[in-house]
C-alpha cells in the first residue's frame, strides 16, 4: 500500500515537472447556439513567456502508401470547411509571467449561407521565453538561437445536424524498402463531418493465434490511406487474418459533442505473406 502511494506521489510530481506552457482544451467546440469558445494558456515555468495566437486551416492527408502528414492551406477556398476567415481570438498576443494563466476567448461569426456540417481551423499557440540579452562573444564569434514553440490545437464550429460515417475498403498488403510488409486500408469518410474514433487492429495467424493487437485514436477529416507495419520478425511467411474495427468516439477529443453515436465499422481481410 505504502509503495503504491509513493509511486503515485512521485508520478504526479514528475508529470508536473514536465510542463512549461500548457494549452487546453485540445479541441475548442463552438456551434450555432454557442459561438464563443475559450482556450486556456498556462505558464507552469519560472520564466516569463511571450504568447501569440494565430489560425491556419489544415487537415491530415496521406499518400498511396499510407504515409501521413498535415496539409496546411494559408488561404482556403470557400469550398473547404474552413472557419479561418471568421474566427477571432482575444487577446492574440500577451505575456505570461511565471505560474500565470490566461483565458483566450474565441468568437466565431459564420456567414448565413453555410450548409449543415462541421467546420474547423487550427489554432497555433506560439510561445517563446523572454530572455535578457547578454553579449559574451569577446573577440570571437558566439551563436545565440532562440526557440519558439508552436503547439497546434483545433477549433470547430458545427452547424445544424452534423453526421459522420466511415467506410473501410481496398485492404491490401505492400512491401516497403526495408523488406517489411505494410497493411493498407482506404478510409472513406461519409457524412458532413470528420470521423474521430478508435481504430483497433487484430491480426491472427493460420492457427487463429493473435500476432498483432494495436489500438489508437485517429481523426479522418477526408479520405485517406491508413497503414500498419507488419514487422518481419513477427510476420513469417504464411496465412493471416486481419480485423480492423473503427469505433466512433468523438467524445475523447470533444466532450461537448452532441453527435449521435454510429455503429462500429469492421473490415476483415485475409492475406498471405510469401
Amino acid at each position: 500500500m505504502k509503495k503504491i502511494f509513493i509511486t503515485l506521489v512521485l508520478f504526479f510530481v514528475v508529470v508536473n515537472l514536465k510542463a512549461q506552457v500548457i494549452i487546453s482544451p485540445y479541441v475548442v467546440y463552438t456551434d450555432e447556439h454557442n459561438k464563443f469558445g475559450k482556450l486556456i494558456v498556462q505558464n507552469e515555468s519560472y520564466d516569463s513567456y511571450e504568447i501569440s495566437i494565430s489560425f491556419i486551416f489544415g487537415y491530415p492527408i496521406s499518400d498511396s502508401l499510407g504515409n501521413r502528414t498535415m496539409k496546411y492551406i494559408k488561404q482556403p477556398e470557400d469550398s473547404l470547411p474552413s472557419i479561418n476567415a471568421w474566427v477571432k481570438a482575444f487577446p492574440k498576443k500577451f505575456v505570461l509571467h511565471p505560474k500565470e494563466r490566461q483565458t483566450v476567448r474565441l468568437f466565431v461569426k459564420p456567414p448565413g449561407y453555410l450548409k449543415n456540417g462541421t467546420y474547423w481551423t487550427r489554432i497555433v499557440t506560439s510561445s517563446s521565453p523572454i530572455i535578457k540579452e547578454q553579449d559574451s562573444s569577446g573577440n570571437g564569434v558566439s551563436a545565440k538561437l532562440r526557440f519558439v514553440l508552436n503547439q497546434v490545437t483545433t477549433v470547430i464550429f458545427r452547424k445544424g445536424i452534423a453526421n459522420t460515417g466511415l467506410n473501410i475498403s481496398n485492404a491490401k498488403i505492400s512491401r516497403d524498402s526495408t523488406g517489411s510488409y505494410k497493411l493498407l486500408y482506404l478510409l472513406k469518410r461519409e457524412g458532413n463531418s470528420p470521423f474521430f474514433g478508435n481504430f483497433n487492429l487484430k491480426i491472427f495467424n493460420s492457427k487463429g493465434q493473435p500476432v498483432k493487437d494495436e489500438s489508437d485514436y485517429t481523426s479522418v477529416y477526408f479520405n485517406m490511406i491508413r497503414s500498419y507495419v507488419l514487422p518481419q520478425n513477427i510476420f513469417k511467411p504464411g496465412k493471416y487474418k486481419a480485423i480492423l474495427e473503427a469505433v466512433f468516439n468523438e467524445k475523447e477529443d470533444i466532450p461537448q459533442s452532441k453527435m449521435k453515436n454510429i455503429p462500429n465499422v469492421k473490415n476483415t481481410f485475409e492475406f498471405i505473406i510469401p
Partner: protein, 154 residues
Amino acid sequence: MKFKSLFTILFLIIFVCNVLPQSIYIYKHKDLNFGDVFIGYSKNILHFNYGAAKFSMHHNFLKKKDFLITFVLPEYLLNGKNYLPIKFDRQNAAWSFRDRRRNRRRFNPNNPLIIRGVKQNRSIFIWLGGKIYAKNNLLPGTYKGTIILTVEFL
C-alpha cells in the same frame, strides 16, 4: 494507521493540485549552445554532444496518439548585416523514448518527424545540434537566429 492517513492526505493534496488538462506537454531542458567559436574554425554539435538542445514531450490522452514534430530551421544567423551559415542534418538530431544516449533514432530535422502510437504519459526526448563555420573574414560578435518547433497530433 497514522502513517497510512498521512499518505492518503498527501496523495489527495498532490492529486488535487495536479489535475492536469488533456493536452500535449512540452518541455525545453536545454538550449542549443555553440559556446565561443574562433574565427576560421567550424563547430559541429552532434545530437549527443553537451551543447545540443534537448526537449521532451508527452500527452495525457487515454488512447495512443501519433505525434507530428516539425522544425523550422534558419540557414543563417545574423549580426547586423553580417551572417553566419548554420546547417542541420541527421548527425545533429535524434529522438528516443528514453533519456539516454544508447539506441537513439537519428532523423533529418529539415523534414517532419512522425512518431506513431505514443502511449499516455510516455515521454519522447529530442536532441538537436547543428554546424556552423566562422569564415576568416567574419566579424566578431553575437550571431542570432530563431528555431521554431511545432508539435501537434496527426
